[in-house]
């Protein structure tokens, strides 16, 4: 079974600084997707960034980038120039490539941004 582990229940960062959130996963599959979702207090999950496992290049979306290490099964999220609006729960998620399989989530990291 696939599992996703986020070892940091809480993190904090100063506004304008950079923070990295960790995620590891366990799978026997070679083709899959990885995601980072943000959940603000409104509860709605928002997709931040995604990575296809077959792509070696790390995904980047504006201030958000990932460090994808397939052999190590590691998928960390880096947030640069942190803003107050980045404060939220962040969830790492995995999805098998084939079919319409559901996302498997980690337990999340609560990020606080300090002004």
């Amino acid at each position: 079974a696939q599992t996703v582990t986020q070892s940091q229940p809480e993190m904090s960062v100063q506004e304008a600084e950079t923070v990295t959130l960790s995620c590891t996963y366990d799978t026997s599959e070679s083709d899959y997707y990885l995601f980072w979702y943000k959940q603000p207090p409104s509860r709605q999950m928002i997709l931040v960034i995604r990575q296809e496992a077959y792509k070696q290049q790390n995904a980047t979306e504006n201030r958000f980038s990932v460090n994808f290490q397939k052999a190590a099964k590691s998928f960390s999220l880096k947030i640069s120039d942190s803003q107050l609006g980045d404060a939220a729960m962040y969830f790492c998620a995995y999805r098998f490539l084939s079919g319409n399989t559901p996302l498997v989530f980690g337990k999340g990291t609560r990020l606080s941004v300090i002004a």
Binding site: V4, R43, M45, F91, A93, G99, N100
Partner: protein, 114 residues
């Protein structure tokens, strides 16, 4: 609709009562997912629909939980004889269908069983 809509937003119910949670997916999305988020926990997969059929019901925590989807659109998650441990946020998501990578989430229903 413009996004995934869930109702009610919040629900308080007495232990032992039945509740129905509704999810209205994005128009045209054939896949629909239900997740449960308990306090301090990640998202626990409950069930998903492809069209009106649910290929995998193994995530439902007990036989008190059931879900249906009609017309390939609206889905209802029903919890019978609610227990306090059922208190959680129930999130619904939808996606275009097979092989589609992005799931869009609703704002969830916060269920409190007292």
């Amino acid at each position: 609709g413009a996004g995934v809509s869930q109702s009610p937003s919040n629900k308080v119910t007495e232990k032992g009562k039945d509740v129905e949670l509704r999810c209205d997916p994005i128009s045209g999305h054939t896949a629909l997912y239900w997740y449960r988020q308990s306090l301090g926990q990640g998202l626990e997969f409950l069930i998903y629909f492809q069209g009106n059929s649910a290929p995998d019901k193994s995530g439902l925590p007990s036989d008190r939980f059931s879900a249906e989807r009609t017309g390939g659109s609206v889905s209802t998650l029903t919890i019978q004889r609610t227990q306090q441990e059922d208190s959680a946020v129930y999130l619904c998501a939808s996606s275009l269908g097979l092989m589609n990578t992005e799931a869009f989430f609703g704002q969830g229903t916060r269920l409190t069983v007292v």
